[in-house]
Symmetry: C2
Subunit: 695 residues, 2 copies
């Protein structure tokens, strides 16, 4: 009973001496799940609802997944198509097929889950049809005049056109001011002429641009009568709606295989003097009259920028759940994977979850995923507030929101991509299999580190804000905690003190204040240009930026659980909060800042408290990952299915691999390579099987 | 002249105002290459020769690449096939084709470069035909009796059989003692019966096992008359050499797509009571007589283990060069990629290499790649010495070699995979393109982190050795530097002192001694079992292990360049040595160990010295990567070609993507998805292009 027999174990061979697990993988999973101290369904409501319960939101999400998974006919016993035998073109086909089902679900149901994420919880721009809702429509709302909006919005929102956003060029990424595509005003005809003046000006990377989009918002330098007015947005039709061919003068195509996102057609576009009507310039804040006179609202930049920050809040949210996915898989596999021998386990191999270095790493990451989720909820709420303020003419919270969202984008994408990769490694060799689901999650996650500019650029935005704040006559509101800083302190805390959130906040605040003050002093003492000083002290600035965001994450975690919750939920979330705070403050990066000194006994005490919290969290490991509520189909993982039946499922899927099915049809031989490569390699097959047994 | 025109820039549009780079990418590359302070060819000889010059070794390596690349017909203007449109089966076909060419080159030329690495510098086991030389043959040499060796070796070495090594099982990885496959002796017939008793006992992962190997060394538990004699090795024919079908009772297949290594058939095998002759047990150290009596040489384990360490030394070497590959690509792209604005660059966008955070990260990694190369050379030489000692009956250096190779395996695989991924991120979005070459390098590199056991297991082997050494009556020879440790010291050093290698060694030694002593004390103070104490202090043990390996790497770097070298080479290698040492000692991980305290001014001084060294190294960045001597074909990178002509090459390859070629044949439309998905999605195409311009 203890081992899983093949159909033909009828042989009478002795198995007495063989080490067998006492429980099957399914039983191990069941046992782990039953150890939980709380009801994971209730935690699901906290995660996906507001800060108070919302069973309704969870139900709607479940229904959306059920509808779409039904339409896609997913089935756990079948090898997911993506792990089979697809080439680039087939991936694209499949992406279009599944993508249209998900987006149609959104169009049919007022509030669709799939606006921001795809079925596998990748960012929705991995779906060729989703960019319309994710970026194209919001940009229209931001930049269109009322007349323009009345025309374009219904088309985009009803799915009658498919949008792309063509900003990035082959040679120009983050620095928008360096874009080279030109939009030259022709006074004769009253048209703009869109043109790609060099290879490096080719639009490259925009999602859906290759083969799915009918329209694009194209960012180009506006040139009127020889004067460069800088970059502006134009809406352009790029493909015929009759036969879908690229319109004259436009070359479109795919940019090929990427680490992930192969369901969509990140594309390129070359424009050869393509003429568009003057009114395709998005005119909310910028106007060009028929005779070519240009005017622009000086306030527009702030509003535009505020609107564009939305993309980053979506990235932050998404990363939290992609990390959660990887952790769900790794945690589930860790409670059913048995390895090595520990004396106290008798004959049986212990589950690897019981090893300190495994559960320390896993549970710390689980705490970070929760921290990320709560930070994401906090920032989304603040962002909505800011938009409302902007709508009533107040832009004063923009600089802070810009900073905190940039920093959180860097923090969450880095945490998620490093964490997902670490989770993958914690699954050993099997994590390297595509059918583990992990490589795709890691690859999709890591993309976000370079989205909207590599994270180094994001951290710079945070440190610039901090330095500007320090230089201001009085500290901005969000930096007032730094005012009380008057040099290094020695904290009086010990033992249980480190389990009090207010103590942890005090330490985080002091660290942030200290690093910021010291970086500022270093800058002030520097000769030469500000840019060169920033370059010289880049590391110190980076660490200060990071400390500021760590504090924000801690505070949002604390305030997110300071609501009425069942006591079991409150207890487990508090443990996660403590684990996040203790491991962050005693992490190498934190401790290494020579400016931040906790004493050795204090650090030892924090590590002891960490061990205690880990012990308390261990029984809840499965429930904490169950609470994220990922369907088996959305995980697409042979290692991470809910039932824990790992080995049976791996073999079931392995035998369904087309390469194996095709070989089996030919007696177990891959005909092509055998004839073309192996047979010649064996050099006339001098050795015959009979010969082999002669020995 | 400054921009690269499309063929039809005949339009008379003004480009005056457009920011244009002053130099083309090719010119930027040339300029960077010409700044070097030394001759990169001379450094190539140091890298690939012995510690003294060996132009000969470099020439032979160049010839091997030239022969194989010629046979494969590589051409920089053609999109490499792997970036096109391959499915799993086509990847396998291509792997068999290119693999046989590389291995045949080795069989035809006595000393082939491709014994250890493939054409892309992946480990040779990414080639389905290479495992024979990399693992199968060495294992035969280790475990065969003289009679067996005389029979099998000529077959394997002449390429008349293709070998695999079937150890790992679906449910059992690192812990060999837990394997479940049985080899039961049948006294009646004098045969062993090889059998897979459960799903989790399926052989899973062995290279070449799926479709390439004709034979395998199978590791199974030997059972004689109901007694389990533990795991032993058996050689088995698994496929017919006539028609290549799996032999009766054997099921073989591929395990599907992996993150990388898709050129080879990591496979699975299920055995159903397969009978093999008794003499297929490898009998050098273990004998089973015809009547079933078992005897085993108690010394065999050490010799076997010593032999198996070879695999790890190959991994260490390989990782050094895979990191070097990624850095070659990232460095080359960084000197031609222009981004952002810096005031002192006037109108032109600066190359991103000039940004501190870019060259700090890149050059630090370059120094680590060099450190890794020298450590690999040192360890390989020591390993050969150990084998010679073992051959003459001395096994006393085995425990040390086992420890240092395990630690170096963990250090180098982690350094390489994190470093390659960081290099990829430093290329921004383009590093995410498969045609950048980086995703494949990262994915192939990261596999080595879990090879032979995840690195956590490797670090444990180091810390166990250290703790055992501390507990011994006298410290082992390699730990004597720890004897003088008598508690924390305050170093008197400042400023230029930190540029003296002997000072750095002293600091590294003190750090290692201190962390080891403190971990040992912590263990000794712990109640309960040793296993539980190790679990509790896992982090402290891990950091101590790491410090010990850091010291080894430093020492091997120092001794590797303490040879007669041209002064320009010696100068640049010394700078790299200093950069490695300074950044290691002032890294977060190092500084965070509360037990290791350099004062703030000392750390500031080390950072200042680091900045100086970086400035000095900057002009040599291209030469340092050129010295690794990677051919363009071996990099397969649109970003990392030697000539720097990045944007032209990306577009050249992009236009050759089969998906684009096929669409172009159909007027720029992907026919299948247009009909099946896009057209229905657009909902009857209500909007017509004429309609669009009405606005």
């Amino acid at each position: 009973m203890a081992h899983i027999p093949y159909h033909d174990t009828s042989g009478s061979l002795p198995v007495r001496e063989i080490i067998m697990p006492a429980l099957t993988q399914v039983q191990l999973m069941e046992r782990s799940r039953n150890q939980a101290t709380f009801d994971s369904n209730k935690l699901t409501e906290v995660i996906f609802g507001g800060q108070v319960y919302s069973k309704d939101a969870v139900d709607r999400q479940k229904e959306a997944f059920a509808r779409v998974e039904k339409a896609l006919n997913t089935d756990l016993s079948k090898l997911p198509a993506r792990y089979g035998n697809m080439n680039r073109e087939q991936m694209m086909d499949e992406g279009m097929r599944t993508g249209s089902i998900a987006v149609n679900d959104g169009l049919d149901h007022k509030h669709s889950f799939f606006d921001q994420s795809n079925l596998q919880w990748s960012l929705a721009n991995s779906n060729p049809f989703s960019l319309t809702g994710l970026l194209f429509t919001p940009l229209l709302r931001l930049q269109c005049s009322a007349e323009q909006l009345a025309y374009w919005l219904p088309l985009a929102e009803s799915g009658r056109i498919i949008g792309s956003f063509a900003q990035t060029e082959l040679g120009h990424g983050t620095f928008v001011g360096g874009l080279q595509t030109t939009a030259t005003f022709d006074k004769e005809t009253g048209e703009f002429v869109i043109h790609t003046p060099s290879i490096s000006a080719t639009k490259y990377w925009p999602g859906a641009l290759g083969f799915a989009a009918t329209h694009a918002i194209v960012v180009a330098r506006m040139i009127i009568a020889g004067t460069d007015h800088g970059v502006h947005s134009f809406v352009m039709q790029i493909r015929s709606l009759e036969d879908f061919k690229p319109l004259p003068g436009i070359e479109l195509g795919d940019i090929g295989l990427k680490m992930s996102y192969n369901d969509t057609d990140n594309g390129y576009a070359v424009f050869k003097h393509v003429r568009i009507p003057r009114k395709h310039l998005l005119m909310r804040y910028t106007t060009v009259t028929r005779d070519g006179s240009y005017s622009s609202d000086p306030l527009s930049e702030k509003l535009l920028y505020g609107g564009l920050l939305n993309g980053r809040t979506v990235i932050i949210r998404n990363c939290a759940f992609q990390l959660a996915q990887a952790l769900t898989i790794a945690t589930r596999y860790s409670v059913v994977r048995q390895q090595g021998e520990k004396k106290d386990h008798g004959l049986h191999q212990p589950e690897i979850m019981s090893y300190k270095l495994q559960h320390h790493r896993l549970l710390t990451l689980v705490s970070m995923a929760y921290a990320n989720i709560f930070a994401s909820k906090t920032i989304s709420a603040s962002y909505q507030q800011m938009l409302e303020q902007q709508a009533s003419g107040r832009n004063d919270s923009l600089p802070y929101m810009h900073m905190i969202i940039a920093g959180l984008k860097a923090w969450s994408t880095q945490t998620a991509s490093d964490g997902a990769e670490d989770a993958r490694k914690m699954c050993g060799g099997h994590g390297y299999l595509m059918m583990s689901g992990l490589p795709e999650i890691v690859a999709s996650c890591t993309a976000t580190c370079t989205f909207e500019g590599e994270n180094v650029v994001m951290w710079k935005q945070v440190s610039r804000y901090l330095m500007k704040g320090m230089a201001a006559p009085s500290l901005p509101h969000d930096m007032v905690y730094m005012a009380s800083y008057s040099g290094p302190v020695v904290f009086p805390y010990q033992g249980d003190d480190f389990l009090r959130p207010e103590v942890l906040v005090e330490i985080f605040e002091h660290r942030s204040a200290r690093l910021t003050h010291e970086a500022y002093e270093a800058l002030c003492n520097e000769q030469g240009s500000r840019a060169s000083a920033e370059n010289t002290h880049a590391v110190a600035l980076h660490i200060a930026a990071r400390a500021c965001i760590d504090l924000f994450v801690l505070q949002s975690f604390i305030s997110s659980i300071a609501v009425t919750l069942p006591s079991t939920l409150h207890a487990v979330l508090t443990r996660l909060l403590l684990l996040y705070a203790l491991t962050t403050i005693s992490s190498p990066l934190s401790l290494s800042s020579a400016t931040f000194a906790l004493s050795s006994p204090q650090i030892a005490s924090m590590r002891a408290q960490t061990n205690t919290v880990l012990e308390e969290l261990l029984p809840d490991a499965i429930a904490l990952t169950d609470a994220w509520n990922f369907t088996d189909a959305s995980l697409s993982s042979a290692l991470g299915c809910r039932d824990g039946d790992v080995y049976r499922r791996i073999m079931e899927w392995t035998r369904q691999l087309p390469i194996n099915v095709h070989a089996a049809e030919n007696g177990g031989v891959l005909k092509g390579p055998w004839e073309a490569s192996v047979k010649p390699f064996l050099r006339e097959g001098v050795v015959r099987s009979r010969g082999m047994s002669r020995l």
